[in-house]
């Protein structure tokens, strides 16, 4: 992509040069960066590293909550194979639902973010506040509201029924028996709705910061609007897209509230299984093993994705 190379150069030139030749400010020492980092690192150590290790240890326990758990080196690894054999469909379903929700979010969010960043004029702040407005209500209440919106006797479902759209959806196995609530579709819609702002905001930030003259330059060079969008705007907004998809996919894959409230027994996600194992079956090792596998799976997917997408783009 020759255009890409030219653009990359121009992007670099916008940025002031940083690097070893930047003079060190008077009075700072070599220790300063570490001092600045230490609160964050301490936070991570106490609230991420230690709990993660405990999670790992708990997943290797044998015993029961009632009798007490014991850890015997090298741990009860069979919990992992049992849990995976038993619950792999829920894992797959979680990633599928989260993936669908991420795609829906991207399709909805990109035009919205584009409009807010580049075309909204004086309305920009208002529109941004509107994007964030759902956060003023609790996550739970917002999800519950969907039960009313998607109720069988509600206007939405009746309209879709009379247009025979539910028949099409049922044929696609997204819904069942002329209803939307308590179907896979409802869960994906709930996830899409709940995580949409996490997609809009990073894309908005990328587009807002983009130098509009680059698009003008592309058009001066006879690029059509579509070509300018594809070769200039989209690559420049990629950091936002990557951040947005991560912010959407990761929490959506572990979410269980949407499946709990909008789903049905046949479409539970891995979060529901973990919740049940912790609090109903009180099988802590299985619950911990599932949590740990979920974390590893997400980390490896993210790693792969970020490498493909190109980390240097993630400003």
């Amino acid at each position: 992509m020759s255009g890409g190379a030219v653009l990359a150069t121009s992007v670099e030139q916008q940025e002031p040069r940083r690097g070893p030749d930047l003079p060190r400010a008077v009075g700072t020492s070599r220790a300063t960066p570490y001092l600045l980092l230490s609160p964050g690192m301490l936070w991570l150590a106490v609230f991420f590293v230690v709990p993660t290790l405990m999670l790992l240890v708990t997943s290797l326990y044998t015993g029961s909550l009632d009798q007490g758990y014991t850890f015997e080196f090298p741990g009860h690894w069979a919990t992992y194979s049992n849990a995976l054999t038993e619950y792999w469909p829920q894992f797959l379903r979680s990633f599928l639902f989260a993936g669908l929700a991420t795609v829906f979010c991207l399709v909805l969010a990109y035009p919205l973010a584009y409009f807010i960043a580049l075309r909204s004029g004086a309305w920009k702040s208002t529109l941004l506040v509107l994007v964030i407005a759902p956060f003023f209500t609790s996550f739970l209440i917002r999800t519950l509201a969907w039960k009313t919106i998607l109720a069988d006797d509600g206007a939405v479902v009746r309209t879709l029924n009379s247009l025979h759209i539910t028949d099409l959806l049922t044929w696609l196995h997204l819904t069942e028996a002329d209803r939307i609530l308590n179907t896979p579709l409802a869960v994906v819609l709930g996830l899409t709705y709940n995580f949409l702002p996490f997609m809009v905001l990073p894309i908005y930030a990328s587009l807002d910061r983009m130098d509009g003259r680059l698009v003008e330059a592309a058009q001066d060079l006879y690029a059509s609007s579509w070509a300018a969008l594809r070769k200039v705007t989209w690559p420049l907004s990629l950091p936002g897209v990557v951040a947005g998809t991560l912010l959407t996919f990761i929490p959506a894959a572990g979410d269980y509230i949407n499946a709990e409230l909008l789903g049905t027994a046949k479409v539970s996600m891995i979060g529901n299984v973990i919740q049940d194992q912790f609090f109903v079956v009180t099988d802590y090792p299985t619950a911990s093993a599932l949590s740990f596998v979920l974390m590893l799976a997400i980390i490896s997917m993210v790693f792969f994705y970020v490498r493909r997408a190109g980390t240097e783009e993630l400003v």
């Binding site: 519950l144 079956v281 009180t282």
Partner: protein, 401 residues
């Protein structure tokens, strides 16, 4: 609660409670707990001997911390955040009540408190209202305190005789009933014709996709076992698994659309569900807004269960807690609670007090059950921890696959 058994009125051996799952709020609460649980378990997973009692701060701190289920106490007609009987208690005794409706599911609630209990620490609560089964588990494990009967004269005088001596807590050493209720079938008579049996609920074609069941196996599986002719006071593993299989078939066929806590009320009201398993009091409360809502005991019998008040071991305001328990056994106070919550009232004399509050409720068998009503009720056996874990494991595969 206490349970009636098949033969007699409340209190034959082996009563056991059904838990009331309040999933909505449970979700929110457990989202936080989920992240903390492993951390806490790693610190204290072995049962530890309980340490000595914390000092009672009742004389210096005029407060009592009371944790209960949602919609389980009277509310002011004009302000749903006010509870007249709690205000009355504060006026009478000068003790402020910190009332929280944070119990949504007895198993989940117990699982959340377990690390605190096992570490012998204060839960921050002075009165808890577990189901009988969870209460029994706590008694066995030594997590709740013996009650001081000298501080509970109203309970001694007014507790229904049938509730005085349950097998799992003889002489009520640790527990005092809060409310008792039943599990049966609810349907919306404006949308469907009557549903009288569990089999109809699980197979009738006109209800396809319009049925909700209760997420707690103690409600749903026990009612299915009753339908299969099993004595739920003595059922076996095989009978349990056979009933689970029946439910699984209903799920696979698409008849059952959801497993719910008490949020089946919304599904009924918005027309998404036409018939479901339900707790008696919830449906009676719904009838004020939606007259079509009907509660019926299934033909094969309904379940009866109860929730009990206990004082956790390291509670810091034990004397105040006793005072509050005693206060709710004043018949006039108990009648006010029953008039709102519509569950079975465990207090003698409340029926005549009800005359002054709402005469239409005096003869309501769901609040003041008569012998004919109680003859339809059954109590299931209590199961031990290992069995509970095995059953829950089989059951969660039906409710989430």
């Amino acid at each position: 609660m206490t349970m009636a058994s098949r033969t007699g009125i409340f209190g034959e051996p082996g009563p056991r409670g059904m838990s009331r799952r309040r999933l909505l709020a449970a979700g929110a609460a457990s989202a936080g707990a989920l992240t903390l649980a492993p951390l806490m378990t790693a610190c204290g997973t072995k049962p530890t001997a309980s340490s000595s009692l914390a000092p009672d701060l009742s004389d210096t701190e005029h407060v009592v911390n009371f944790s209960n289920w949602q919609l389980y106490i009277d509310v002011d007609e004009n302000d749903a955040t006010k509870h007249p009987t709690l205000d009355g208690f504060t006026q009478k005794t000068g003790i402020t009540v910190n009332y929280s409706e944070d119990i949504d599911d007895a198993d989940v609630f117990s699982a959340k408190l377990m690390p605190t209990f096992k570490a012998g620490q204060d839960t921050g609560r002075d009165i808890l209202v577990p189901t009988e089964e969870v209460g029994t588990k706590w008694i066995r494990a030594g997590f709740v305190e013996k009650l001081d009967k000298a501080l509970l004269p109203n309970v001694t005088a007014n507790l229904l005789d049938s509730l005085r001596n349950p097998a799992w807590d003889p002489d009520r050493v640790y527990t005092v009933p809060w409310q008792t209720g039943c599990t049966g079938i609810a349907f919306d008579s404006s949308k469907t014709k009557p549903v009288n049996t569990i089999t109809e609920l699980l197979t009738r074609p006109d209800l396809h996709g319009k049925v909700a069941l209760i997420r707690d196996w103690r409600d749903t599986v026990c009612l299915v076992m009753l339908e299969m002719g099993v004595d739920i006071g003595t059922y076996t593993d095989d009978q349990f698994m056979a009933a689970v299989e029946v439910v699984q078939k209903a799920v696979d066929s698409g008849q059952v659309r959801a497993f719910t806590g008490n949020n089946y009320t919304e599904l009924l009201v918005n027309g998404s569900v036409h018939a479901c398993l339900a707790w008696s009091g919830d449906i009676v409360q719904l009838q004020y807004d939606a007259p079509g809502m009907t509660y019926v005991p299934p033909e094969s019998g309904q379940l009866i269960w109860g929730d009990t008040m206990v004082i956790p071991e390291q509670a810091q305001h034990r004397k105040n807690a006793h005072e509050l328990i005693n206060y709710y056994y004043d018949p006039a106070v108990a009648a006010r609670v029953s008039a709102t919550v519509q569950y079975i009232c465990p207090v003698k004399g409340a029926q005549s007090e009800m005359e002054k509050i709402d005469p239409t409720l005096v003869d309501n068998p769901l609040i003041f059950p008569d012998a004919a009503f109680l003859a339809t009720t059954h109590t299931s056996r209590l199961v031990d921890e290992a069995t509970q874990a095995r059953y829950a494991d089989a059951w969660t595969k039906v409710t989430g696959t």
